[in-house]
């Protein structure tokens, strides 16, 4: 239409007015390290696999886990969940049930029979594909993890273990009711099917000889199987055994004779395992004797709770002074100002048919004993940040190196060692590799150097209230007397629910808030779940920053 001058205007003509000029600060998209990822000893990209799981892409989610950890089903049962401890959601209602989702994914993979393709064909001939032959000593979590990763990196791996079955502590240390063996076997089997050679009942004594025999590098992870002893005056008839061998014997099918009343000495997870196992073996009383208080107890809370539920009793601030037939003499302790227990001189008796010592384990370091360059300190092997011992080409990890002794840590060592070994094989003079970028989103790798995503940076109003789902647990009556798994898994809907409780801390999850709340339509939606800021029109009000649920946008001064 021919329009009257000035009073009638063509639509949208104001786009000619670039209001970006008003800006003194500009919003930029960033990526922060999610606390869960940051806390995971196995270095899993948890946020990413939760993101995949949220939309039901379980296989994608599982494969994301498998990038870092070959034991999702095991993890989902035995991991002590540092990720959940770190989870920001804990400050809102309760932490996301990461571990239960992981278990769901792990079990789903076993149900579906998902396998991991090996990128490069394994070979031990130098040059071709860069593949070399690597020896792994010890088929525990650390060794198997290393074997898995090395295989994916294209190396030919041989795992040798003294035991009759693979799994190390996963099999001989963790009772069935926490980790059913068929699960363990299935996940180990998956690794074996990738082409890992597994030689059982094979104790490696001379590592140097093995290397000379043609292995280009070795990873030693024999764990810590020797139960620590403490001197306790005891009568001949006193029955004393250590927890490690007790739990081990469970696997050999010869359940130990413990009697009706069992005392377990120690406050670690092993002590709990021992006491709970004792209950299952028919002990009417299982008493844990510990020198300090519950707060000081190294055992994880869940373990203690479940033990108490199962009728295990606790004797805090107590030491075993003397062991006789059917009775123990207990000395009361008190904590000094440094929190260290001091004897009080008060004694009392405790009825016990048997005393199980759970005072920690030591590693059998003999395999590295005489290797030139390898050094030790208080019963563990000294290694560099790349887990290489003093002897070039020999790496070590797991319980035999200085670190927290958990399955997850061990698995992390396996991954780290594998990468270090691969790097060393390619360039023996090279420096240890950087930890690779983690997290999802749109930022440049540099962005990952940002501090971990803090709860304060979130706008949690946008997340609907959704308290955690509790995993079904076996009622105590059925626990005692059977070795059935105590903690059940989540079905799909509940696993999905848990996955969707993730707040995607520090990384854009494509919620469109910035696109929506910009009063100046200055956000361009790229369609692939990412965005771009149109600085021609952005006035720099900061609304997108304030309303970003996950804190993935920040203001920075206009470049001058």
């Amino acid at each position: 239409m021919d329009k009257p001058f000035a009073i009638t205007l063509d639509v949208g003509s104001s786009r000619a007015n670039h209001t970006g000029a008003w800006r003194t600060e500009r919003p930029v998209y960033v990526n922060h390290l999610p606390p869960c990822n940051n806390a995971c000893p196995a270095g899993e990209n948890i946020q990413q696999w939760l993101y995949d799981a949220e939309e039901g892409s379980y296989e994608a989610a599982w494969r994301q886990i498998m990038q870092d950890n070959p034991f999702p089903a095991v993890m989902g049962r035995v991991c002590y969940r540092p990720c959940e401890t770190a989870c920001n959601r804990a400050q809102l209602d309760s932490a996301v049930g990461i571990n239960s989702v992981e278990r769901f994914l792990g079990d789903e993979a076993l149900r579906q029979g998902w396998q991991v393709p090996v990128d490069a064909a394994p070979t031990n001939e130098g040059g071709r594909g860069g593949g070399r032959g690597v020896l792994v000593v010890g088929a525990g979590p650390s060794g198997l993890s290393a074997a898995y990763h090395l295989t994916r990196l294209g190396h030919a791996v041989t795992v040798k273990d003294a035991g009759a079955a693979p799994g190390g502590m996963m099999r001989y240390g963790i009772p069935k009711y926490r980790l059913p063996r068929d699960i363990l076997d299935a996940e180990v089997d998956r690794i074996r099917r990738m082409g890992v050679t597994l030689e059982l009942n094979t104790k490696v004594t001379d590592i140097q000889a093995e290397l000379d025999a043609g292995f280009d590098a070795a990873f030693v992870a024999v764990g810590a199987h020797i139960g620590r002893r403490a001197y306790i005056p005891a009568g001949d008839s006193a029955r004393i055994m250590d927890a490690v061998s007790m739990l081990h014997s469970m696997e050999d099918g010869a359940s130990p004779m413990l009697g009706r009343r069992v005392a377990v000495y120690g406050g670690g997870n092993t002590a709990m395992d021992a006491a709970r196992t004792a209950r299952r073996l028919g002990a009417s009383e299982a008493v844990v004797v510990y020198r300090r208080t519950r707060e000081k107890m190294p055992a994880h809370d869940i373990e203690v709770e479940e033990a108490l539920e199962e009728g295990v009793t606790m004797r805090w601030l107590s030491t075993v002074a003397q062991a006789g037939e059917g009775t123990l003499v207990i000395e009361k302790m008190k904590l000094d100002e440094t929190g260290f227990p001091q004897p009080t001189g008060e004694f009392e008796e405790l009825e016990a048919d048997c005393l199980v010592l759970a005072l920690g384990q030591n590693a059998d370091l003999s395999v590295l004993q005489d290797v030139p360059g390898v050094t030790f300190s208080d019963n563990v092997v000294e290694v560099g940040p790349d887990l290489m011992t003093g002897h070039p080409g020999i790496f070590a990890g797991g319980d035999m190196v200085p670190s927290e002794r958990t399955v997850t840590v061990a698995i992390g060592h396996g991954k780290k060692a594998a990468r270090s070994i691969d790097a060393w094989l390619r360039d023996p003079g090279g420096r240890p590799p950087q930890t690779p970028p983690r997290g999802v989103g749109t930022g440049s790798p540099a962005a990952y150097k940002h501090a971990p995503a803090s709860f304060g940076a979130l706008n949690t109003w946008y997340y609907s209230d959704a308290p955690a789902t509790v995993r079904p647990r076996l009622e105590t009556a059925r626990r005692i007397g059977t070795f059935d798994e105590v903690t059940g898994g989540l079905d799909e809907s509940t696993a999905l629910f848990e996955a969707r409780r993730c707040m995607s801390c520090g990384n854009c999850f494509g919620c469109d808030n910035c696109y929506g709340v910009c009063p100046d339509n200055a956000i361009i939606k790229l369609g692939d779940g990412t965005y771009e800021i149109d600085y021609d029109y952005c006035k720099g009000c900061g609304l997108c920053v304030a309303e970003c649920p996950c804190g993935a946008i920040e203001m920075e001064p206009e470049p001058t």
Binding site: M1, D2, K3, P4, F5, A6, I7, T8, L9, D10, V11
Partner: protein, 415 residues
């Protein structure tokens, strides 16, 4: 078809034949009969239109603005206080260039409140940017409405058709009511210059700053200039279609040889013409110039209409600009500056005061010695009494009431 009909009814029938799509009005005497009639037609479905009973004149004009901007032919009617109450929207409609047609049943403005006829209301909107046409008879009122839609839509400006309240609106006179076919042939479908259409969206009513406001106003002035050509053309077209000479800019009557020309607008023209006939019978060289189009002001047409012998112009005003005098006079003076003329103003017929031949005769006989400003039939004694009262006491009370008390009677006296 010839009918003996009330002015309001005649106008209503004319408006209906113009096929307005939206009609809205708020009741105010003496405009009511017009919209009552239209409302009835809509209710009886003889007129296909939306009739809105709005809550005020301000809303009435606003509804008309919306309707017109949406592409519908819109009509409303008002008077007096109502016109002032809608004033803001009246100016806005002109600014937006919306061809709304509105009847103003001319009536005085209070205080003191007064329901009777004069031109104060329309005069107050003189500069609103609307065309103002004044009807001398009911026939012309009827005809002007048909022409008004044609002119308004051709120029895309709103048009006010002014007809004297009661004197015309309530008077039964002979009128030739045209047929629908005639009107349809004369008045094309409304083709808006700008329209609100989701299919072709535009923003109408944008803010305009110093950089363009002068230009926008100039264009308003320019459109008014075009109107000076369009209006006579429409008069000709109308005559062709209806066989009647109505509308146009001005109406000279016996001005060729006139030494005195009386300028006036509206229904008083008839009375003046009768008076002039009588005076001429006594040999006075006097004529009449009726102004049909007051906005835009037809200065050229007026100069053309005045005879070469004209020495004296008497402007008969039905309104007053306190502190200045004649409102029409000012425009007349401006358009005759180059001429050597005596121009005097006669303020007459305020608030329904009858303008009688008797009074006019007495006045025009001595036209040549009229002072610059005369109030016809002014009751000087009443005024002097009140002036005296006011100078005597500070708290002299409300003038209107004082005067009525002196007068001793209220309305309904003859004349």
């Amino acid at each position: 078809m010839l009918k003996q009909v009330e002015g309001s009814r005649a106008v209503a029938e004319a408006v209906a034949m113009c096929r307005p799509r939206v009609i809205c009005a708020y009741p105010i005497t003496p405009q009511t009969h017009i919209v009552e009639a239209l409302s009835a037609m809509v209710k009886q479905d003889t007129l296909k239109a939306e009739f809105l009973n709005v809550e005020s004149e301000f809303a009435a004009m606003s509804v008309a603005i919306g309707a017109s901007a949406a592409g519908a032919r819109a009509y409303t009617a008002t008077a007096s206080q109502g016109l002032l109450y809608m004033s803001e929207a009246v100016w806005n409609a002109a600014g937006l260039g919306l061809p709304i047609v509105m009847t103003v049943a001319n009536r005085a403005i209070g205080a003191p409140i007064n329901i009777w006829n004069d031109h104060s209301d329309a005069m107050s909107q003189r500069d609103a940017g609307w065309l103002q046409l004044y009807a001398e008879t009911n026939q012309e009122a009827l005809d002007l409405h048909i022409q008004a839609f044609r002119i308004a839509e051709e120029l895309s400006v709103p048009v006010m058709v002014c007809m004297d309240g009661f004197l015309l609106t309530h008077a039964s006179e002979r009128a030739d009511i045209p047929g629908q076919a005639q009107v349809d042939a004369f008045l094309p479908r409304y083709e808006p210059r700008q329209v609100l259409d989701p299919a072709e969206p535009v923003s109408i009513g944008a803010m305009v700053g110093p950089e363009a406001f002068t230009e926008v106003r100039y264009l308003a002035y320019e459109r008014m200039r075009q109107a000076l050509e369009v209006i006579p053309a429409v008069r000709v077209g109308f005559a062709a279609g209806f066989g009647r000479d109505s509308g146009g800019l001005v109406r000279p009557y016996l001005t060729e040889d006139a030494e005195t020309v009386v300028v006036a607008m509206g229904s008083v023209l008839g009375t003046v013409k009768d008076t002039v006939d009588e005076l001429r019978a006594n040999g006075t060289k006097i004529g009449v110039l009726g102004i049909t189009t007051f906005r835009p002001f037809p200065a050229d047409a007026i100069r053309l209409a005045l005879g070469t012998r004209t020495r004296h112009v008497v402007v008969l005003e039905r309104a007053l600009a306190p502190g200045s005098g004649g409102i029409v006079t000012a425009d007349i003076q401006a358009s005759l500056t180059a001429w050597d003329l005596r121009i005097s103003t006669v303020v007459a017929g305020l608030g329904g005061r009858a303008v009688t031949r008797k009074s006019l005769r007495g006045l025009l006989i001595q036209a040549s010695d009229l002072p610059p400003l005369t109030f016809l039939d002014l009751n000087s004694s009443l005024v002097e009494a009140e002036v005296a009262r006011m100078s005597a006491a500070r708290r002299s009370g409300p003038s209107a009431e004082n005067i009525l008390r002196d007068l001793g009677i209220t309305a309904s006296r003859i004349g």
